[in-house]
Amino acid sequence: MRRFMTTTAIAVLMGITTGVPAHAQDQGVEVLHWWTSGGEAAALQVLKDGLFNDQAINWEDMPVAGGGGGDAMTVLRARVTAGNPPTAVQMLGFDILDWAQQGTLGNLNDVASAQGWDAVVPTALQQFSKYEGNWIAAPVNVHSTNWLWINKAALDAAGGAEPTNWEEFVALLEAFKAQGITPLAHGGQAWQEATIFDGVVLSLGNDFYKAAFIDLDPAALGGEQMKEAFDRMTTLRTFVDDNFSGRDWNLASAMVINGEAGVQIMGDWAKGEFIKAGKVPGTDFVCMRFPGTQGSVTFNSDQFAMFNVSEERRVSQMAMAAAIMDPAFQSAFNVVKGSAPARTDVSDEAFDACGKKAIADLAAANTAGTLFGSMAQGHAQPAAIKNALYDVVTRHFNGELSSEDAVTELVAAVAAVQ
């Protein structure tokens, strides 16, 4: 009897100290992300439904709108500083490594070794999913920024030929102008201008892109080729409508979808908007690499960085990480999202023509060593340098700097924050 009492007392005490046993709400995952536009939200639903149906894991949604995730990162900073990080956070490139450096991220090595992530995730991606040899994030997809999205009807009216170099591209834009539509659908936000700049710089050569954005070589940043890149931006500026500044990227996509505009230069997340509007690749719209960049890919990868959370939550966190890397999910998600899977062993069968092209281009670029991190999407340089580059590109695009001044400013801006 006495023994029974003691055991009960211990059990009660343990109940008090360890808190109530894990209830359903403790097994949820709280996910901070910025996938709020139509195509993106639909893609995320695949993951939410999968987790809930298969493992009864509740998804606590924490969306913070704004492409590129600037606002989401501000929310995250407040949560982490307050000692209450979300379970998982959608993150891009160097942001993941910055957070890892602060010691706030969890360790996914158990799941990673059980599922063999090392063998299937492209090496270029692992640079951002691992820190000091430990897995810290689960990559969801691989996007690339050097794409054109062309309205098929407008292209046919202009002769139907896809432009293969810069001159042909300018001629196509002129033809769109003659049709009375806005030639280039663009939203005047710094990151969108930088996205165009990715393609423009890459079209001047793989070595040039690498020297300028990956190595930050002052000779490349301040050279003649960079001036040429800015001159091309000036040319593109003449093809946007008067009302472009401040427009969100998905509204610019809508202009191409509706036939109000001819082409958008945007990463392949734009495809989700076309698909959601019921458009078919090859029939209603054409996807192609930015003219002169076929064979190279400037990638960015959405990853879910996993934060240090309480033990109860860690179980569902690991389940979420495993679910993300499941080949079936990678295929289902990326078909909707418009991106390529983040693992190389996923069949491209379910993908449309643009998706098959993205997967093939990615594999080819990976083998050829022409897979580069996107400057615009924070996969070439950390936030401080990325934004310093943004400043110059957006000021030049909005007419505040001439091409000569922009080149000088570019070198100075990078040096100032290095």
């Binding site: 500083t81 910055d98 005047g188 710094a190 009302n243 400043d391 957006t394 909005n398 924050v417």
Partner: protein
Amino acid sequence: MNIKEQAQAWLPRLVISPSAVLVLVFVYGFILYTGYLSLTDSKMLPSYGFVGLENYQKLWALPHWHKSLANLGIFAGLYIVISSVLGLGLAILLDQKIRAEGVLRPIYLYPMALSFIVTGTAWKWFLDPGIGLQNTVQLWGWTDFSFTWIKDSNLAIYCVVLAAVWQSSGFVMAMFLAGLRGVDNEVIKAAQMDGASTGTIYRRIIIPLMRPVFLSAFVVLAHLAIKAYDLVIALTGGGPGQATQLPATFMYSYTFTRNLMGIGASSAIIMLVMIFSIIVPYLYSELRGEKR
């Protein structure tokens, strides 16, 4: 009796002390903390490696910061002058003992009840060439009409002035109206007997008498201008390009989105110094006035 007296002496202090402590910690404490951060190598999160004045040197080398200061010069200058002139003009007109003053006054004051976010969003739509004024006038038949200031790098800052003036001039009017009502009627009557015209009375007597109101209006408007953030974010987002960046938007961007918290903190301290340089002389003149 003694206890009661003591309680009466201590009770007010006791009641005020929690808020005093809160203000001490959350206002002055964090001002000091920001000042300290501006001297450290903080990047994404606060860190405490001391770097001296390096952040200030970097700050003053940034073209983005100079652009923000130049924009603040244009914005604050025009905002303060136009709001004061409009406010004074409206106050003088309302002061003519007109019949419907009770109805008119709240109409002019009403914009002050809106937040800058609402003002900014409403004006963004109104000024947007695609859906606002330009589009409407063109639909009415004047197809050549063009009004694209908000999309023009050189003119967008004036759109911010426009929206801010619309928001604040009614409030300034109320301040001036109170000032006008405070002017001694005897003085005015004496001037009228001497044959002074209404214009002369306002110019030579009433407006000079309202010097303290001008000062108060200036201080209120100047600090609103320096801390202006929400209006710009709602109206233009700082764009096109960097055309409408102000020190407050600069501070937010460097501290929170660029992972350069040290530089962001140093810009916040510069803004604090700017506000101090306005408030301190004002307080000084007020206190000196009281003594006299």
